[in-house]
């Protein structure tokens, strides 16, 4: 098992190289002159050239990329063009904000989704099922930045109960977490329901009933564990993309997270910041996916056996 984890971690290296190369290449396509932008509007041609040389922007993209990677190996992600501060600590400063929000959001999502999904499946076509599924459909269809704005209109502007943005006390968490959580909840509810319905049709559920297992226990002991296997993946992917920057929601609520850094840096052509953020987010995203795969093994013995063999 530990060999498998190690192998997966090693596999991350080519992915990170690929991702940085891809992002570096895409960003190098941008029109406009980075050096001119950094030098400022009033700078003359000579200053701009000096800046260009200083940043190494006069060299071919591939050389620039090579240098960047060499520095990255030493843990150096360069300096922000804009703030001139080191990239890595600046991003790490806002990463916990993103992580905290992601944690509360996924908690909201799972807290809503699992019970509704399970009840919907066990009482298919009942009132709860119908209402739950309509709500879930609406949840999937609602853009979360719009939902965020609606919450602001209602709870901040009209009722004045909650702050409309920024980070501070626990009150600041409520609206962003609900905004992000409900969208994911919709997805997870649908997944839980369909997975549960699939499992309930299986032969081994009939076997359990034929043994005289009470219906409640059939659901909780026999069906749920099997049904959760695909649900765990979805939860993991959702959590991964929350960590990967809830860009839109962070923008709506002026949340000082990594997603906003990316947007701001892209607008100001702050390539080292963008790259740094994307590299870190990619690693986070991949590590979460790996964690999900490992969690899988604890639920599903068949998969555990496969890992052992590898």
């Amino acid at each position: 098992m530990s060999r498998y984890i190690l192998k997966r971690l090693v596999m991350l290296i080519p992915v990170v190289i690929g991702v940085t190369f891809m992002v570096y290449f895409i960003l190098s396509l941008s029109p406009g002159d980075t050096a001119a932008m950094i030098a400022g509007e009033t700078a003359d041609a000579e200053t701009i050239e000096a800046v260009r040389k200083d940043l190494g922007l006069d060299q071919p993209v591939i050389v620039q990329y090579g240098k960047y990677m060499l520095n990255l190996l030493r843990g150096d992600m360069g300096q922000s063009y804009k703030s001139k501060r080191d990239v890595f600590p600046s991003i790490m400063a806002s990463f916990p904000n993103t992580a905290k929000l992601a944690f509360w959001s996924i908690l909201v999502a799972v807290g809503i989704a699992l019970p509704i999904g399970i009840i919907s499946a066990t009482r298919q076509y009942s009132m709860i099922d119908n209402v739950g599924m309509v709500a879930a459909l609406l949840g999937v269809a609602t853009p979360n930045f719009w939902l965020g704005l609606m919450l602001i209109i209602l709870f901040s502007l009209n009722l004045g109960w909650l702050p409309s943005g920024g980070m501070g006390g626990w009150k600041n968490y409520i609206m962003p977490a609900i905004t992000l959580g409900t969208g994911d909840a919709a997805l997870i509810t649908r997944m839980t329901r369909s997975s549960m319905l699939e499992v309930i049709r299986q032969d081994y559920i009939r076997t359990a009933r034929a043994k005289g297992v009470p219906e409640k226990k059939v659901i909780h002991k026999h069906a749920l564990k099997n049904a959760l296997i695909p649900v765990v993946t979805v939860i993991g992917i959702q959590f991964g993309s929350l960590l990967g920057g809830a860009t839109l929601t962070e923008t709506v609520f002026a949340w000082p997270g990594v997603g906003r850094i990316v947007v701001d840096s892209i607008k100001s052509k702050d390539t080292p910041m963008v790259l740094g953020a994307i590299v870190l987010l990619t690693i986070t995203f991949s590590v979460v996916n790996l964690a999900v795969d490992i969690l899988y093994a604890f639920i599903d013995p068949r998969i555990k056996a496969q890992y052992k063999r590898k």
Binding site: D203, Y204, T207, A208, A210, K211, G212, V213, N226, P301
Partner: protein
């Protein structure tokens, strides 16, 4: 034993009718089926795909999927208790305990995320006194009884072969010493030599525990080997019933004879088989008269008018065939 003393019966099913009500029409799966089974005896239910054998077995546990399955009529008396009108609690208490079932496909009938030991122990803990530990102990014993080393208690189903899984299912079914065992094609998914092993194990265990059994199969060979009585099922109805000797040696129904004629005989290489022409009738659109009439070479206009009634030819043997109203009627029988 037509109207034998009902106290001796472990199972008494009368005029059972089960339909599946689907969007595409009503599937008439079971149409007036009777079973009377004495304690400790083995009854074979033989018939082809879609004849309603499995539905009948499931109804004894009240496990016919609903919707779409609806039990329209009839009674099921199991060891003196009325299964169809039993509260769910009581039903759960007898499932796996008084009556248990072995399903056809061992690959899918075990829960993949629980160990085989847990799955056997669960049924014991549910129905017997004593704690978890005792149940686990007995589950280990049961594994050994079906020929699996106790050490494999903690393994998962995917680590077992098909034959081994079916042994686990058998251990589970027999763990609480049921008075009635329902075996739905228990060896169909297995290889011949493994089938022989499993049948042998089942035979020994049944002798040991003295359970009655209903063996559902399409294989007349298995019937000949393990059963005391046979019921031949066609389109949800028993068309012929009797002891092994009755049905094998003095076959009455043309369908039963057709089944025998369809089998390649291992002892004699015959040039041609004698198959039954045509197909099973569409269960959403059964004929008004005898369901076998469209495929039957003895069919007369009379046969197409109404469903035939039971006709007893001796104490143990009956047939549902209109033609036996004619005193001299006989079917041609092949040598076997």
């Amino acid at each position: 034993m037509a109207e034998a003393n009902k106290k001796d019966l472990i199972l008494d099913i009368n005029d059972l009718v089960i339909h599946y009500e689907t969007e595409d029409g009503v599937v008439e799966a079971v149409n007036g089926l009777d079973i009377q089974l004495e304690h400790g005896k083995t009854l074979g239910l033989v018939g082809e795909t879609g004849s309603g054998k499995t539905t009948t077995a499931l109804s004894i546990l009240r496990l016919v999927p609903d919707p779409p399955g609806v039990i329209k009529n009839g009674s099921i008396i199991l060891d003196g208790k009325d299964v169809l009108n039993m509260p769910i609690k009581e039903l759960e208490a007898i499932r796996g305990n008084l009556v248990s079932m072995i399903f056809q496909d061992p690959m899918t009938s075990l829960n993949p995320v629980l160990t085989v030991g847990e799955q056997i122990a669960e049924v014991i803990a549910l129905h017997e006194e004593g704690g978890e530990k005792e149940a686990a102990q007995k589950a280990g014993d049961m594994l050994e009884v079906v020929g699996i080393p106790r050490e494999r208690y903690g393994e998962y189903p995917h680590q077992f072969s098909g034959g081994m899984k079916q042994r686990v299912v058998i251990a589970m079914a027999l763990a609480c010493n049921p008075k009635l065992l329902l075996a739905d094609e228990p060896t169909t998914a297995l290889d011949v030599t493994i089938q022989a092993q499993v049948l042998e194990t089942m035979k020994q265990l049944r002798e040991k525990y003295g359970s009655a059994m209903i063996m559902i199969t399409h294989d007349l060979g298995i019937i000949a080997e393990v059963c005391d009585e046979v019921s031949v099922v066609y389109a949800g109805q028993i068309v012929e019933h009797g002891t092994l000797e009755d049905v094998f040696e003095s076959t009455l129904h043309p369908y039963t004879e057709g089944l025998f004629g369809s089998l390649p005989n291992i002892e004699e290489r015959r040039e041609r088989l004698q198959p039954i022409p045509g197909l099973m009738p569409d269960p959403t659109d059964l004929p008004k008269g005898c369901c076998f009439a469209p495929r039957c070479k003895y069919c007369t206009a009379e046969c197409e008018k109404a469903r035939p009634e039971k006709k007893w030819v001796n104490d143990t043997h009956y047939v549902r065939c209109t033609r036996y109203n004619e005193p001299d009627f006989k079917i041609e029988r092949s040598e076997r």
